[in-house]
Symmetry: C2
């Protein structure tokens, strides 16, 4: 049977599978179902006597901050517990920097002729969406397996004052899965930047989202920045979206005291406070930091077999053929699949026509443009194991078919 | 006993009372305590099968929109259910208008030499705080008891293209308590504005917050704008902050289709969606629009006696003396107290030194500046009836003392 015939057979199955987004599965969400009844009858007072039902509490519930500060490695006085989406905090930090000078800035970013962010690739499409929304020019830099190519990053930021930021997903990077090395963190913190108001947007989305019992070893970026004499360089973002309920979690921001005070002053005009009842709900659900880690072990038990399935099918179907490489992440939500240059969009098209939705080719690159058209992001968390196996077999077949047909011209 | 002696006696009581903010009382919050256990075990699916626990649903849960659309008089296709704070939505609409042209705008507001908002006075200090945060110049216009002085508003907006907006709390205005007349609404909707991108910021915070069984009769501003050929003129804001839990409610935005599409496109970059579990919690708690109104009757039962106490004490202590006037609102959260010109700050100071915290004098005016120093905002919702009576007796004494001492020079 030719690959075309196999593909025709695949199409006839009428699959309807979705690997597009890093969404938790229903089984993962079930792990937090007790939250649907929390904080529970008559339970609304915080430890300090605050009535969580009422207005106020701009910086978040102290006991929730207390639980997450050690997990995120951020001093609790520099950690804010906010709304339900870290994306929104990232958005708001940029919007604020556009309209009010960040500490150390000569002017508001909106007054600059051009604002440029470095974008390690492959990266997170929603980060790039924020840049597009704010008219920020994106310059890709390659990831190396240890974080971004630091020689290139250092060279660019040293000479170009228009470069105001860099996006980083430092642990289990979306989608490459790599963890930034201590040396990468040190160099990011210490490098000389032409812009006095350069900022690292440190999206620590997968801080405790390990796929093995080994916790990711990630250097403390705020500490590294402080030690290097650049205390205000990093904004750290995190959330419980992939810990408790994806749409009903709590997002966190950590930074230097100066950055936090800058943000608090602006936030005090924007809101009277976050949803403290939901924060109390999280406190009751976890109890303490160990409770969070115990909960993450349950996610791991559901996620690890999915990643093993991806690895197993890719190795069986594509191993040794010289047409594909893929990541073997030890945490996070994604697998990066690299196919022959010029084939990624075709693979995604073929998969779509066989009923398997993949993230659009190029999505992991600024402006949705993968110059080599070779990268595909796989998101294995949502489907069941059976669906995932079917989907991956379909993807592997599409890769073989696209590669063969490209070779034949 | 002289007033000074009475005041010394008051001070010796060591009161510690707070009338500063329009916060619901613990008894009001108790009315929604069932929410602390909702949506309840295993209850997370929306009517259309959406798993509210997961990501998505940018515009809010359709069944919650369905409940509030008739209460707010907004077509459900034009109503978004969002996060926990309408203040944040107002902030975000302005930030978006600063950075992306609103429908009909020639450019982004940040590119204008100056952006001006009309501020009916007395008004809501947090609205004025937003203007200060965004560098928007505030021009006060007088309220008349039927809404703003429309002759003045029409004259100003017709001639000055820098005027991009007007703040309105149209029902039970904060703090005057007045309800905008149908004629005011019609004129706001129909008036000729020099700015093509002029917007009404219609903060309908007290839409259903009546203190009597009579519902406020407020004309439909979106319909009036559409009929007048200015369909995109108004943004309507509302929330359940003073319906369910002040810090854990749901905020709403309603506007024209063009404005809503503009905002949705920007929001799609900012967030993956609001907290749908909290929205489902609200759906389960209310059931339907009648459930909301039945719930508001319980608030009324707690609030009406507080407003009666304010009226009773003010009338008894200050009536007929020619030194004070005050509002007798039929809804909302505030009483406006007018004292002799030049006395308001002194009354607030005297009250503070007798242990009664009042909203700072001038807070209801742009830049915190009441040019006549005559207005005091009273917020009677939070204290118990006993505390409120004590506080109001103290306030009345402070008014008499300040007026007398001013007269004596």
């Amino acid at each position: 049977m030719t690959l075309r015939e196999e593909y025709a057979e695949l199409q006839s199955k009428g699959l309807k599978l979705d690997l597009t987004r890093g969404k938790p599965s229903p089984e993962q969400l079930n792990l937090s179902n007790r939250m649907l009844e929390l904080p529970g009858a008559g339970d609304y007072l915080a430890a300090d006597g605050t009535d969580t039902r009422n207005y106020g509490g701009l910086t978040g519930l102290p006991e929730l901050v207390e639980i997450f500060a050690p997990l995120l490695g951020i001093p609790k006085g520099q950690l804010l517990a906010l709304g339900n989406a870290s994306l929104q905090i990232m958005h708001d930090v940029i919007a604020n920097a556009m309209l009010s000078p960040v500490p150390g800035a000569a002017r508001r970013w909106v007054e600059e002729d051009e604002v440029v962010f470095l974008c390690p690739v492959p990266g997170y499409d929603r980060h790039f969406g924020l840049c597009e929304r704010f008219g920020i020019t994106m310059v890709p830099v390659a990831l190396t397996g240890q974080g971004p190519d630091m020689d290139e990053v250092e060279r660019l930021v040293a000479e170009d004052p228009r470069i105001k930021g860099i996006w980083c997903v430092p642990a289990y990077s979306n989608p490459s899965g790599e963890v930034y090395s201590a040396e990468t963190v040190r160099r990011l913190a210490a490098m000389t930047t032409a812009a006095p108001d350069f900022r690292i947007f440190w999206d620590n989305a997968y801080a405790i989202h390990d796929l093995t019992e080994q916790r990711a070893e990630l250097a403390d970026v705020l500490d590294a920045c402080a030690r290097a004499g650049n205390p205000d360089r990093a904004f750290v973002f995190a959330s419980t979206s992939k810990i408790t309920l994806a749409g009903a979690g709590v997002a966190f921001l950590g930074s230097s005291t100066a950055n936090v005070e800058w943000l608090k002053a602006l936030m005090s005009k924007q809101t009277i406070g976050p949803d403290k009842v939901n924060q109390l709900r999280h406190v009751r659900f976890f109890g303490d930091a160990d409770g969070v880690l115990a909960h993450m072990a349950k996610h791991r038990a559901l996620l690890a077999p999915r990643f093993e399935t991806v690895e197993h099918v890719l190795e069986r179907e594509l191993g040794g053929r010289g047409i594909a490489r893929w990541s073997r992440p030890e945490g996070g939500y994604f697998v990066s699949l690299e196919v022959p240059d010029g084939c990624a969009a075709e693979v995604v098209r073929l998969a779509k026509e066989a009923g398997v939705a993949l993230t659009p080719a190029g999505a992991a690159f600024p402006y949705g443009h993968d110059p080599r058209d070779h990268h595909i992001r796989l998101a294995p968390s949502y489907p069941s194991l059976t669906e995932l196996r079917e989907a991956m077999e379909a993807v592997a077949l599409c890769v073989r078919l696209a590669a063969e047909e490209q070779k034949q011209g």
